[in-house]
Protein backbone atom coordinates (compact mmCIF):
# COMPACT_ATOMS: atom_id res chain seq x y z
CA UNK A 1 0.00 0.00 0.00
CA UNK A 2 1.16 3.50 -0.86
CA UNK A 3 1.41 4.63 2.75
CA UNK A 4 3.75 1.87 3.84
CA UNK A 5 6.01 2.30 0.89
CA UNK A 6 6.36 6.00 1.65
CA UNK A 7 6.98 5.29 5.31
CA UNK A 8 9.68 2.77 4.43
CA UNK A 9 11.34 5.31 2.18
CA UNK A 10 11.23 7.89 4.92
CA UNK A 11 12.79 5.51 7.42
CA UNK A 12 15.58 4.59 5.02
CA UNK A 13 16.41 8.18 4.17
CA UNK A 14 16.44 9.49 7.71
CA UNK A 15 18.08 6.40 9.15
CA UNK A 16 20.90 6.78 6.69
CA UNK A 17 21.76 10.33 7.76
CA UNK A 18 24.18 9.33 10.56
CA UNK A 19 26.17 7.39 7.99
CA UNK A 20 26.66 10.41 5.79
CA UNK A 21 27.63 13.03 8.30
CA UNK A 22 29.33 13.33 11.64
CA UNK A 23 28.39 16.95 12.12
CA UNK A 24 27.07 17.39 15.64
CA UNK A 25 24.88 20.26 14.51
CA UNK A 26 23.14 18.25 11.81
CA UNK A 27 22.70 15.17 13.95
CA UNK A 28 21.34 17.19 16.83
CA UNK A 29 18.91 18.91 14.51
CA UNK A 30 17.66 15.62 13.10
CA UNK A 31 17.22 14.20 16.58
CA UNK A 32 15.31 17.15 17.98
CA UNK A 33 13.24 17.47 14.81
CA UNK A 34 12.22 13.82 15.02
CA UNK A 35 11.36 14.33 18.67
CA UNK A 36 9.08 17.26 17.76
CA UNK A 37 7.50 15.07 15.07
CA UNK A 38 6.55 12.41 17.59
CA UNK A 39 4.85 14.91 19.86
CA UNK A 40 2.74 16.32 17.04
CA UNK A 41 1.95 12.87 15.70
CA UNK A 42 0.74 11.82 19.13
CA UNK A 43 -1.49 14.89 19.38
CA UNK A 44 -2.76 14.31 15.86
CA UNK A 45 -4.20 10.91 16.77
CA UNK A 46 -6.64 12.43 19.23
CA UNK A 47 -6.87 15.96 17.86
CA UNK A 48 -6.66 15.44 14.14
CA UNK A 49 -8.32 12.09 13.68
CA UNK A 50 -10.50 12.14 16.77
CA UNK A 51 -11.39 15.79 16.68
CA UNK A 52 -10.84 16.17 20.42
CA UNK A 53 -8.55 19.09 21.20
CA UNK A 54 -6.35 18.52 24.18
CA UNK A 55 -4.65 21.61 25.55
CA UNK A 56 -2.84 19.66 28.24
CA UNK A 57 -1.11 16.89 26.32
CA UNK A 58 1.94 17.46 28.47
CA UNK A 59 0.00 15.41 31.00
CA UNK A 60 0.96 12.24 29.13
CA UNK A 61 4.44 13.47 28.27
CA UNK A 62 5.25 14.17 31.87
CA UNK A 63 3.86 10.85 33.03
CA UNK A 64 6.04 8.99 30.56
CA UNK A 65 9.08 11.03 31.51
CA UNK A 66 8.71 10.60 35.26
CA UNK A 67 7.97 6.89 35.02
CA UNK A 68 11.00 6.37 32.81
CA UNK A 69 13.19 8.07 35.40
CA UNK A 70 11.55 6.52 38.45
CA UNK A 71 11.54 3.03 36.94
CA UNK A 72 15.29 3.18 36.54
CA UNK A 73 16.21 5.06 39.67
CA UNK A 74 13.76 3.59 42.14
CA UNK A 75 12.68 0.25 40.71
CA UNK A 76 16.00 -0.70 39.18
CA UNK A 77 14.56 -1.44 35.74
CA UNK A 78 16.67 -1.42 32.63
CA UNK A 79 15.71 1.59 30.50
CA UNK A 80 14.69 -0.59 27.57
CA UNK A 81 12.21 -2.29 29.86
CA UNK A 82 11.24 1.00 31.43
CA UNK A 83 10.24 2.41 28.06
CA UNK A 84 7.19 0.19 27.52
CA UNK A 85 6.31 0.65 31.16
CA UNK A 86 6.34 4.43 30.71
CA UNK A 87 4.21 4.14 27.63
CA UNK A 88 1.79 1.93 29.54
CA UNK A 89 1.50 4.41 32.39
CA UNK A 90 0.95 7.31 30.01
CA UNK A 91 -1.66 5.29 28.16
CA UNK A 92 -3.24 4.49 31.50
CA UNK A 93 -3.51 8.16 32.37
CA UNK A 94 -5.06 8.60 28.94
CA UNK A 95 -7.59 5.94 29.76
CA UNK A 96 -8.48 7.62 33.03
CA UNK A 97 -8.81 11.15 31.66
CA UNK A 98 -10.56 9.92 28.54
CA UNK A 99 -13.03 7.77 30.38
CA UNK A 100 -13.89 10.52 32.84
CA UNK A 101 -14.19 13.21 30.19
CA UNK A 102 -16.18 11.26 27.63
CA UNK A 103 -18.34 9.56 30.20
CA UNK A 104 -19.61 13.04 31.03
CA UNK A 105 -19.88 14.06 27.41
CA UNK A 106 -17.18 16.71 27.43
CA UNK A 107 -16.28 18.04 24.03
CA UNK A 108 -14.79 21.05 22.31
CA UNK A 109 -13.69 23.84 24.61
CA UNK A 110 -14.70 21.96 27.71
CA UNK A 111 -12.50 19.03 26.86
CA UNK A 112 -9.62 21.42 26.17
CA UNK A 113 -10.17 23.03 29.56
CA UNK A 114 -10.33 19.74 31.41
CA UNK A 115 -7.08 18.49 29.91
CA UNK A 116 -5.45 21.77 30.85
CA UNK A 117 -6.72 21.38 34.39
CA UNK A 118 -5.45 17.83 34.68
CA UNK A 119 -2.00 18.85 33.44
CA UNK A 120 -1.90 21.60 36.03
CA UNK A 121 -2.98 19.24 38.79
CA UNK A 122 -0.22 16.81 37.88
CA UNK A 123 2.28 19.63 37.75
CA UNK A 124 1.37 20.88 41.19
CA UNK A 125 1.37 17.38 42.65
CA UNK A 126 4.75 16.64 41.05
CA UNK A 127 6.11 19.78 42.70
CA UNK A 128 4.96 18.64 46.11
CA UNK A 129 5.55 14.91 46.21
CA UNK A 130 8.91 13.39 47.23
CA UNK A 131 9.13 10.50 44.81
CA UNK A 132 9.13 12.86 41.86
CA UNK A 133 11.90 14.82 43.45
CA UNK A 134 9.41 17.58 44.23
CA UNK A 135 10.35 20.95 42.75
CA UNK A 136 13.92 19.95 42.18
CA UNK A 137 13.05 17.15 39.80
CA UNK A 138 14.92 13.98 38.99
CA UNK A 139 18.33 13.56 37.47
CA UNK A 140 19.16 10.36 35.65
CA UNK A 141 22.67 9.19 36.47
CA UNK A 142 25.04 9.25 33.52
CA UNK A 143 26.09 5.81 32.34
CA UNK A 144 26.71 5.65 28.64
CA UNK A 145 26.01 2.36 26.98
CA UNK A 146 23.56 0.97 24.49
CA UNK A 147 22.20 -1.36 27.12
CA UNK A 148 21.47 1.66 29.25
CA UNK A 149 19.81 3.62 26.46
CA UNK A 150 22.33 6.39 26.77
CA UNK A 151 24.14 6.62 23.48
CA UNK A 152 27.58 8.08 23.08
CA UNK A 153 26.64 9.81 19.87
CA UNK A 154 23.40 11.34 18.69
CA UNK A 155 23.14 8.60 16.08
CA UNK A 156 21.83 6.12 18.62
CA UNK A 157 19.17 8.55 19.78
CA UNK A 158 18.23 9.33 16.20
CA UNK A 159 17.58 5.67 15.45
CA UNK A 160 15.66 5.23 18.67
CA UNK A 161 13.45 8.22 17.95
CA UNK A 162 13.13 7.15 14.33
CA UNK A 163 11.76 3.88 15.62
CA UNK A 164 9.19 5.71 17.71
CA UNK A 165 8.25 8.06 14.88
CA UNK A 166 7.83 5.06 12.62
CA UNK A 167 5.59 3.47 15.20
CA UNK A 168 3.52 6.66 15.24
CA UNK A 169 3.43 6.69 11.45
CA UNK A 170 2.28 3.10 11.52
CA UNK A 171 -0.49 3.90 13.95
CA UNK A 172 -1.55 6.88 11.83
CA UNK A 173 -1.52 4.82 8.65
CA UNK A 174 -3.61 2.22 10.42
CA UNK A 175 -6.11 4.93 11.34
CA UNK A 176 -6.39 5.83 7.67
CA UNK A 177 -7.10 2.29 6.52
CA UNK A 178 -8.99 0.55 9.27
CA UNK A 179 -12.48 0.27 10.62
CA UNK A 180 -11.43 1.86 13.88
CA UNK A 181 -9.95 4.83 12.05
CA UNK A 182 -13.10 5.19 9.96
CA UNK A 183 -15.20 5.10 13.12
CA UNK A 184 -12.95 7.63 14.86
CA UNK A 185 -13.15 10.09 11.99
CA UNK A 186 -16.89 9.55 11.75
CA UNK A 187 -17.27 10.52 15.39
CA UNK A 188 -15.09 13.55 14.72
CA UNK A 189 -17.13 14.67 11.75
CA UNK A 190 -20.58 14.01 13.12
CA UNK A 191 -21.06 12.15 16.36
CA UNK A 192 -24.83 11.69 16.10
CA UNK A 193 -24.70 10.39 12.55
CA UNK A 194 -21.99 7.97 13.62
CA UNK A 195 -24.09 6.70 16.50
CA UNK A 196 -27.02 6.09 14.21
CA UNK A 197 -24.99 3.71 12.08
CA UNK A 198 -23.51 1.64 14.84
CA UNK A 199 -20.48 3.52 16.17
CA UNK A 200 -19.93 3.70 19.93
CA UNK A 201 -18.45 7.17 20.38
CA UNK A 202 -17.30 6.63 23.93
CA UNK A 203 -15.16 3.57 23.30
CA UNK A 204 -13.76 4.98 20.06
CA UNK A 205 -12.69 8.26 21.64
CA UNK A 206 -11.35 6.45 24.67
CA UNK A 207 -9.11 4.19 22.61
CA UNK A 208 -7.87 7.19 20.64
CA UNK A 209 -6.95 8.93 23.89
CA UNK A 210 -5.10 5.85 25.07
CA UNK A 211 -3.12 5.61 21.83
CA UNK A 212 -2.40 9.32 21.79
CA UNK A 213 -1.37 9.31 25.45
CA UNK A 214 0.90 6.32 25.00
CA UNK A 215 2.75 7.86 22.06
CA UNK A 216 3.13 11.12 23.92
CA UNK A 217 4.46 9.22 26.91
CA UNK A 218 7.10 7.64 24.69
CA UNK A 219 8.21 11.15 23.83
CA UNK A 220 8.53 11.93 27.50
CA UNK A 221 10.59 8.83 28.17
CA UNK A 222 12.86 9.72 25.28
CA UNK A 223 13.32 13.23 26.65
CA UNK A 224 14.56 11.85 29.95
CA UNK A 225 17.03 9.54 28.25
CA UNK A 226 18.51 12.32 26.15
CA UNK A 227 18.60 15.15 28.66
CA UNK A 228 18.83 13.00 31.78
CA UNK A 229 16.73 15.45 33.74
CA UNK A 230 13.06 16.08 34.39
CA UNK A 231 11.19 18.51 36.59
CA UNK A 232 7.51 19.44 36.98
CA UNK A 233 7.76 22.47 34.72
CA UNK A 234 9.34 20.59 31.85
CA UNK A 235 7.16 17.57 32.37
CA UNK A 236 3.73 19.12 32.68
CA UNK A 237 4.23 22.69 31.57
CA UNK A 238 2.42 24.28 28.71
CA UNK A 239 5.46 24.42 26.43
CA UNK A 240 5.21 20.78 25.46
CA UNK A 241 1.42 20.89 25.14
CA UNK A 242 1.67 23.85 22.82
CA UNK A 243 4.50 22.44 20.74
CA UNK A 244 2.54 19.26 20.12
CA UNK A 245 -0.66 20.96 19.10
CA UNK A 246 0.77 23.77 17.00
CA UNK A 247 2.91 21.33 15.01
CA UNK A 248 -0.10 19.20 14.23
CA UNK A 249 -2.32 22.10 13.26
CA UNK A 250 0.29 23.88 11.18
CA UNK A 251 1.08 20.68 9.35
CA UNK A 252 -2.45 19.59 8.73
CA UNK A 253 -4.80 17.73 11.04
CA UNK A 254 -5.91 14.24 10.30
CA UNK A 255 -3.21 13.52 7.77
CA UNK A 256 -0.29 11.10 7.75
CA UNK A 257 2.56 13.50 7.03
CA UNK A 258 0.99 16.72 8.30
CA UNK A 259 2.37 16.52 11.84
CA UNK A 260 5.86 15.88 10.50
CA UNK A 261 5.65 18.76 8.06
CA UNK A 262 4.39 21.05 10.77
CA UNK A 263 6.83 19.97 13.45
CA UNK A 264 9.83 20.21 11.14
CA UNK A 265 8.75 23.59 9.77
CA UNK A 266 8.34 25.01 13.26
CA UNK A 267 11.62 23.49 14.29
CA UNK A 268 13.44 25.09 11.38
CA UNK A 269 11.75 28.38 12.15
CA UNK A 270 12.81 28.16 15.78
CA UNK A 271 16.38 27.36 14.81
CA UNK A 272 16.52 30.23 12.33
CA UNK A 273 15.23 32.58 14.99
CA UNK A 274 17.84 31.41 17.44
CA UNK A 275 20.56 31.99 14.86
CA UNK A 276 19.26 35.45 14.07
CA UNK A 277 18.35 36.72 17.51
CA UNK A 278 20.27 34.53 19.89
CA UNK A 279 18.94 32.51 22.76
CA UNK A 280 16.14 34.81 23.87
CA UNK A 281 13.81 33.39 26.49
CA UNK A 282 10.34 32.85 25.18
CA UNK A 283 11.07 33.77 21.58
CA UNK A 284 10.25 30.27 20.36
CA UNK A 285 6.85 30.31 21.93
CA UNK A 286 6.06 33.76 20.61
CA UNK A 287 6.68 32.37 17.16
CA UNK A 288 4.61 29.26 17.78
CA UNK A 289 1.75 31.38 19.02
CA UNK A 290 1.99 33.79 16.12
CA UNK A 291 2.20 30.96 13.59
CA UNK A 292 -0.83 29.34 15.16
CA UNK A 293 -2.84 32.53 14.76
CA UNK A 294 -1.64 33.05 11.20
CA UNK A 295 -2.34 29.49 10.14
CA UNK A 296 -5.82 29.62 11.59
CA UNK A 297 -6.33 32.93 9.81
CA UNK A 298 -4.99 32.04 6.40
CA UNK A 299 -4.35 28.36 6.05
CA UNK A 300 -6.78 26.47 8.27
CA UNK A 301 -6.06 23.17 6.57
CA UNK A 302 -2.42 23.45 7.38
CA UNK A 303 0.46 22.72 5.08
CA UNK A 304 -0.74 19.31 4.10
CA UNK A 305 -3.91 20.95 2.83
CA UNK A 306 -6.08 18.59 0.91
CA UNK A 307 -7.81 15.93 2.85
CA UNK A 308 -7.17 17.63 6.14
CA UNK A 309 -10.11 18.88 8.12
CA UNK A 310 -10.50 22.46 9.17
CA UNK A 311 -10.55 23.40 12.85
CA UNK A 312 -14.03 24.85 12.30
CA UNK A 313 -15.59 21.55 11.54
CA UNK A 314 -14.98 19.54 14.64
CA UNK A 315 -15.11 22.43 17.05
CA UNK A 316 -18.63 23.09 15.85
CA UNK A 317 -19.68 19.98 17.72
CA UNK A 318 -19.03 18.01 14.59
CA UNK A 319 -22.19 19.12 12.84
CA UNK A 320 -22.14 20.72 9.44
CA UNK A 321 -24.68 22.69 7.45
CA UNK A 322 -26.76 19.87 6.04
CA UNK A 323 -28.77 21.88 3.57
CA UNK A 324 -27.21 24.43 1.29
CA UNK A 325 -30.69 25.72 0.56
Amino acid sequence: MKDFRKIALFVLLVGAVPFFTESGVVLNFVMTALYACLLSQAWNVLGGFGGQFSFGHALFFGTGAYVQAIAQMQWGLNPWLALPVSVAFAAGVGAFVGAASFRYGLKGSYFALVTLAFAEVFRIVATSVPFTGAGVGLMLPLKESVANMQFASRAGFIWLMLGLVTLALGVTAWLRHSRFGAYLQAVRDNEDAARAIGVNPFSVKLIATILSGGLMGAGGAFYVQVFQYIDPGIAFGSHTSVEALVGAIVGGLGTLWGPLLGAISLHILADLTRNLFGQLPGINMVIYGAVLILIVMFLPRGIAGLGAITPQQWLRGHKTDGDKS
Binding site: F53, F55, A100, S101, R103, Y104, L106, G108, S109, Y110, A112, L113, V114, L116, A117, F118, E120, V121, I124, V125, T127, S128, S238, V242, I249, L280, P281, G282, I283, N284, M285, V286, Y288, G289, A290, L292, I293, V296, M297, P300, P311, Q312, Q313, L315, R316
Partner: protein
Protein backbone atom coordinates in the same frame (compact mmCIF):
# COMPACT_ATOMS: atom_id res chain seq x y z
CA UNK B 1 -5.87 24.07 65.09
CA UNK B 2 -9.25 24.92 63.66
CA UNK B 3 -10.17 27.54 66.19
CA UNK B 4 -11.83 30.75 65.20
CA UNK B 5 -8.71 32.83 65.56
CA UNK B 6 -7.14 30.98 62.70
CA UNK B 7 -10.27 30.27 60.67
CA UNK B 8 -11.64 33.78 60.70
CA UNK B 9 -8.63 35.50 59.17
CA UNK B 10 -8.39 32.73 56.63
CA UNK B 11 -12.04 33.19 55.76
CA UNK B 12 -11.70 36.94 55.52
CA UNK B 13 -8.61 36.54 53.41
CA UNK B 14 -10.49 34.21 51.16
CA UNK B 15 -13.39 36.59 50.75
CA UNK B 16 -11.21 39.54 49.85
CA UNK B 17 -9.16 37.51 47.40
CA UNK B 18 -12.35 35.98 46.12
CA UNK B 19 -13.77 39.38 45.30
CA UNK B 20 -10.86 40.08 43.02
CA UNK B 21 -11.18 36.63 41.48
CA UNK B 22 -14.82 37.47 40.90
CA UNK B 23 -13.86 40.66 39.13
CA UNK B 24 -11.56 38.70 36.83
CA UNK B 25 -14.23 36.10 36.23
CA UNK B 26 -16.83 38.76 35.45
CA UNK B 27 -14.97 39.80 32.34
CA UNK B 28 -14.67 36.19 31.27
CA UNK B 29 -18.31 35.41 31.82
CA UNK B 30 -19.40 38.57 30.02
CA UNK B 31 -17.31 37.58 27.02
CA UNK B 32 -18.63 34.06 27.09
CA UNK B 33 -22.21 35.07 27.65
CA UNK B 34 -22.25 37.38 24.65
CA UNK B 35 -19.68 36.11 22.20
CA UNK B 36 -20.01 32.47 23.26
CA UNK B 37 -16.29 32.09 23.19
CA UNK B 38 -14.02 30.82 25.89
CA UNK B 39 -11.35 33.45 26.01
CA UNK B 40 -8.12 31.61 26.62
CA UNK B 41 -6.26 34.91 26.45
CA UNK B 42 -7.92 36.22 29.59
CA UNK B 43 -5.10 35.28 31.95
CA UNK B 44 -2.43 36.67 29.67
CA UNK B 45 -4.37 39.91 29.35
CA UNK B 46 -4.48 40.23 33.12
CA UNK B 47 -0.76 39.69 33.18
CA UNK B 48 -0.30 42.46 30.63
CA UNK B 49 -2.46 44.76 32.77
CA UNK B 50 -0.45 43.93 35.86
CA UNK B 51 2.76 44.80 34.05
CA UNK B 52 1.09 47.99 32.95
CA UNK B 53 0.35 48.97 36.53
CA UNK B 54 3.87 47.95 37.52
CA UNK B 55 5.47 50.08 34.83
CA UNK B 56 3.28 53.07 35.62
CA UNK B 57 4.46 52.92 39.21
CA UNK B 58 8.13 52.14 38.59
CA UNK B 59 8.75 54.40 35.64
CA UNK B 60 6.25 57.20 36.14
CA UNK B 61 5.57 57.01 39.84
CA UNK B 62 1.83 56.67 39.34
CA UNK B 63 0.06 55.12 42.29
CA UNK B 64 -1.84 51.98 41.28
CA UNK B 65 -5.20 53.28 42.45
CA UNK B 66 -4.63 56.53 40.62
CA UNK B 67 -3.72 54.49 37.58
CA UNK B 68 -7.32 53.30 37.29
CA UNK B 69 -8.36 56.03 34.86
CA UNK B 70 -5.37 55.11 32.72
CA UNK B 71 -5.48 51.35 32.87
CA UNK B 72 -9.19 50.85 32.43
CA UNK B 73 -9.51 52.76 29.15
CA UNK B 74 -6.19 51.41 27.91
CA UNK B 75 -7.26 47.83 28.47
CA UNK B 76 -10.61 48.60 26.92
CA UNK B 77 -8.94 49.81 23.76
CA UNK B 78 -6.62 46.82 23.74
CA UNK B 79 -9.56 44.47 24.08
CA UNK B 80 -11.54 46.19 21.35
CA UNK B 81 -8.60 46.09 18.98
CA UNK B 82 -7.80 42.49 19.80
CA UNK B 83 -11.32 41.30 19.13
CA UNK B 84 -11.91 43.37 16.03
CA UNK B 85 -8.47 43.08 14.53
CA UNK B 86 -7.24 39.62 15.44
CA UNK B 87 -9.80 37.28 16.91
CA UNK B 88 -12.68 38.22 14.64
CA UNK B 89 -10.49 38.10 11.55
CA UNK B 90 -8.79 34.85 12.37
CA UNK B 91 -11.98 33.07 13.27
CA UNK B 92 -13.55 34.05 9.95
CA UNK B 93 -16.60 35.07 11.90
CA UNK B 94 -17.18 31.54 13.09
CA UNK B 95 -17.35 30.84 16.80
CA UNK B 96 -15.26 27.72 16.61
CA UNK B 97 -11.77 28.79 15.62
CA UNK B 98 -11.61 31.16 18.50
CA UNK B 99 -10.37 28.50 20.87
CA UNK B 100 -7.14 28.21 18.91
CA UNK B 101 -6.75 31.91 18.22
CA UNK B 102 -7.18 32.97 21.83
CA UNK B 103 -4.73 30.26 22.81
CA UNK B 104 -2.31 31.68 20.26
CA UNK B 105 -2.80 35.19 21.63
CA UNK B 106 -2.16 34.02 25.17
CA UNK B 107 1.03 32.25 24.12
CA UNK B 108 2.28 35.32 22.27
CA UNK B 109 1.49 37.71 25.13
CA UNK B 110 2.95 35.51 27.82
CA UNK B 111 6.18 34.94 25.98
CA UNK B 112 6.58 38.52 24.87
CA UNK B 113 6.42 39.36 28.54
CA UNK B 114 9.06 36.73 29.19
CA UNK B 115 11.19 38.29 26.50
CA UNK B 116 10.93 41.82 27.84
CA UNK B 117 10.74 41.29 31.57
CA UNK B 118 12.49 37.95 32.06
CA UNK B 119 10.91 35.53 34.48
CA UNK B 120 11.59 37.56 37.60
CA UNK B 121 8.74 38.16 39.91
CA UNK B 122 8.19 41.83 40.51
CA UNK B 123 6.29 43.73 43.13
CA UNK B 124 5.67 47.37 43.81
CA UNK B 125 6.21 49.38 46.95
CA UNK B 126 3.65 51.86 48.09
CA UNK B 127 3.03 53.62 51.33
CA UNK B 128 0.20 51.33 52.15
CA UNK B 129 1.56 48.01 50.87
CA UNK B 130 2.20 46.80 54.37
CA UNK B 131 -0.62 48.57 56.14
CA UNK B 132 -3.17 46.39 57.84
CA UNK B 133 -6.64 46.83 59.20
CA UNK B 134 -7.91 45.08 62.26
CA UNK B 135 -11.21 43.25 61.97
CA UNK B 136 -11.99 41.20 65.03
CA UNK B 137 -9.16 38.75 65.56
CA UNK B 138 -7.89 39.25 62.04
CA UNK B 139 -5.42 41.62 60.50
CA UNK B 140 -6.29 42.17 56.88
CA UNK B 141 -3.86 43.87 54.55
CA UNK B 142 -5.28 47.24 53.60
CA UNK B 143 -4.71 46.75 49.87
CA UNK B 144 -6.79 43.59 50.04
CA UNK B 145 -9.63 45.43 51.69
CA UNK B 146 -9.50 48.14 49.08
CA UNK B 147 -9.43 45.43 46.42
CA UNK B 148 -12.58 43.94 47.91
CA UNK B 149 -14.39 47.25 47.82
CA UNK B 150 -13.08 48.06 44.39
CA UNK B 151 -14.17 44.73 42.99
CA UNK B 152 -17.69 45.26 44.26
CA UNK B 153 -17.82 48.76 42.78
CA UNK B 154 -16.58 47.65 39.38
CA UNK B 155 -19.01 44.74 39.34
CA UNK B 156 -21.83 47.11 40.08
CA UNK B 157 -20.70 49.40 37.27
CA UNK B 158 -20.54 46.52 34.82
CA UNK B 159 -23.98 45.40 35.84
CA UNK B 160 -25.31 48.92 35.42
CA UNK B 161 -23.83 49.18 31.97
CA UNK B 162 -25.37 45.92 30.87
CA UNK B 163 -28.76 46.57 32.40
CA UNK B 164 -29.33 50.27 31.97
CA UNK B 165 -27.48 51.60 28.96
CA UNK B 166 -28.17 51.39 25.25
CA UNK B 167 -24.96 49.50 24.80
CA UNK B 168 -26.09 47.06 27.42
CA UNK B 169 -29.36 46.56 25.62
CA UNK B 170 -27.51 45.91 22.40
CA UNK B 171 -25.23 43.46 24.18
CA UNK B 172 -28.16 41.58 25.60
CA UNK B 173 -29.88 41.49 22.24
CA UNK B 174 -26.82 40.17 20.46
CA UNK B 175 -26.19 37.52 23.06
CA UNK B 176 -29.73 36.22 22.77
CA UNK B 177 -30.25 36.42 19.04
CA UNK B 178 -27.39 37.50 16.85
CA UNK B 179 -29.17 37.39 13.52
CA UNK B 180 -32.21 39.15 14.82
CA UNK B 181 -30.09 41.86 16.36
CA UNK B 182 -28.26 42.30 13.08
CA UNK B 183 -31.55 42.62 11.24
CA UNK B 184 -32.57 45.32 13.69
CA UNK B 185 -29.58 47.34 12.59
CA UNK B 186 -27.22 46.54 15.44
CA UNK B 187 -23.59 46.39 14.37
CA UNK B 188 -22.81 42.98 15.80
CA UNK B 189 -19.09 43.17 15.18
CA UNK B 190 -18.95 46.47 17.03
CA UNK B 191 -20.96 45.10 19.94
CA UNK B 192 -18.73 42.06 20.15
CA UNK B 193 -15.68 44.26 20.25
CA UNK B 194 -17.24 46.55 22.86
CA UNK B 195 -18.03 43.55 24.98
CA UNK B 196 -14.55 42.17 24.69
CA UNK B 197 -13.27 45.63 25.51
CA UNK B 198 -15.42 45.72 28.64
CA UNK B 199 -14.09 42.34 29.67
CA UNK B 200 -10.54 43.57 29.26
CA UNK B 201 -11.34 46.84 30.99
CA UNK B 202 -12.48 44.98 34.07
CA UNK B 203 -9.09 43.25 34.00
CA UNK B 204 -7.46 46.66 33.96
CA UNK B 205 -9.34 47.56 37.10
CA UNK B 206 -8.55 44.20 38.67
CA UNK B 207 -4.87 44.76 37.99
CA UNK B 208 -4.90 48.12 39.75
CA UNK B 209 -6.44 46.51 42.81
CA UNK B 210 -4.28 43.40 42.70
CA UNK B 211 -0.84 44.88 42.18
CA UNK B 212 -0.34 46.46 45.63
CA UNK B 213 -1.13 43.20 47.37
CA UNK B 214 0.26 40.80 44.83
CA UNK B 215 3.05 40.38 42.28
CA UNK B 216 3.61 39.92 38.60
CA UNK B 217 5.66 37.59 36.43
CA UNK B 218 4.99 36.26 32.93
CA UNK B 219 3.37 33.08 34.24
CA UNK B 220 0.97 34.73 36.61
CA UNK B 221 -1.77 34.67 34.00
CA UNK B 222 -1.85 30.89 33.90
CA UNK B 223 -2.78 30.58 37.54
CA UNK B 224 -5.49 33.19 37.20
CA UNK B 225 -6.89 31.79 33.99
CA UNK B 226 -7.73 28.42 35.46
CA UNK B 227 -9.13 29.94 38.62
CA UNK B 228 -11.24 32.31 36.52
CA UNK B 229 -12.51 29.43 34.41
CA UNK B 230 -13.34 27.44 37.49
CA UNK B 231 -15.40 30.34 38.79
CA UNK B 232 -17.16 30.90 35.51
CA UNK B 233 -18.03 27.24 35.08
CA UNK B 234 -19.07 26.94 38.70
CA UNK B 235 -21.22 30.02 38.63
CA UNK B 236 -22.57 29.33 35.21
CA UNK B 237 -21.38 30.68 31.91
CA UNK B 238 -22.81 34.11 31.30
CA UNK B 239 -24.12 34.66 34.80
CA UNK B 240 -22.89 37.72 36.67
CA UNK B 241 -24.34 36.59 39.95
CA UNK B 242 -22.70 33.24 39.43
CA UNK B 243 -19.32 34.83 38.79
CA UNK B 244 -19.58 36.96 41.93
CA UNK B 245 -20.70 34.17 44.21
CA UNK B 246 -18.40 31.70 42.55
CA UNK B 247 -15.46 34.03 43.00
CA UNK B 248 -16.10 34.42 46.71
CA UNK B 249 -16.56 30.69 47.11
CA UNK B 250 -13.35 29.86 45.28
CA UNK B 251 -11.44 32.47 47.23
CA UNK B 252 -12.58 30.91 50.47
CA UNK B 253 -11.86 27.38 49.27
CA UNK B 254 -8.37 28.37 48.26
CA UNK B 255 -7.70 30.08 51.54
CA UNK B 256 -9.07 27.30 53.70
CA UNK B 257 -7.49 24.69 51.47
CA UNK B 258 -4.17 26.41 51.83
CA UNK B 259 -4.65 26.41 55.56
CA UNK B 260 -5.36 22.71 55.69
CA UNK B 261 -3.19 21.31 52.92
CA UNK B 262 -0.47 23.81 52.39
CA UNK B 263 -0.47 26.38 49.66
CA UNK B 264 0.35 24.34 46.62
CA UNK B 265 -1.98 21.50 47.37
CA UNK B 266 -4.65 24.03 48.25
CA UNK B 267 -4.58 25.07 44.62
CA UNK B 268 -5.12 21.49 43.60
CA UNK B 269 -8.39 21.68 45.48
CA UNK B 270 -9.58 24.36 43.09
CA UNK B 271 -8.73 22.35 40.03
CA UNK B 272 -10.36 19.28 41.42
CA UNK B 273 -13.53 21.29 41.91
CA UNK B 274 -13.15 22.60 38.38
CA UNK B 275 -12.86 19.15 36.88
CA UNK B 276 -15.72 17.88 38.99
CA UNK B 277 -18.02 20.73 37.99
CA UNK B 278 -17.13 20.37 34.32
CA UNK B 279 -18.07 16.75 34.45
CA UNK B 280 -21.04 16.72 36.74
CA UNK B 281 -22.72 20.06 36.23
CA UNK B 282 -21.23 21.97 33.32
CA UNK B 283 -24.00 24.52 33.34
CA UNK B 284 -22.90 25.60 36.79
CA UNK B 285 -25.39 26.84 39.27
CA UNK B 286 -26.83 29.86 37.55
CA UNK B 287 -25.98 29.63 33.93
CA UNK B 288 -27.62 28.20 30.87
CA UNK B 289 -26.30 24.96 29.47
CA UNK B 290 -23.40 25.82 27.22
Amino acid sequence: MLDLNILFPSLLNGITTGAVYALIALGLTLIYGVLHIINFAHGAALMVALYGVYLLKEKLGVDPYLALPIMVPAMFVLGYALQRGVINRASHGKDENILLVTLGVSIVLENLALLFFKSDTRTIDTAYTLATVEIGPAFIALPKLVAFGGALVVSAVLLLIVQKTDLGRAIRAVSKEKQGARLMGIDVDHVYAMCFGLGMASLGAAACFLMPAYYVNPQVGNGFVLVAFTIVVLGGMGSFAGALLGGLLIGVVESLGGLLLGESLGQVGIFVIFIAVLMLRPQGFFGAKA
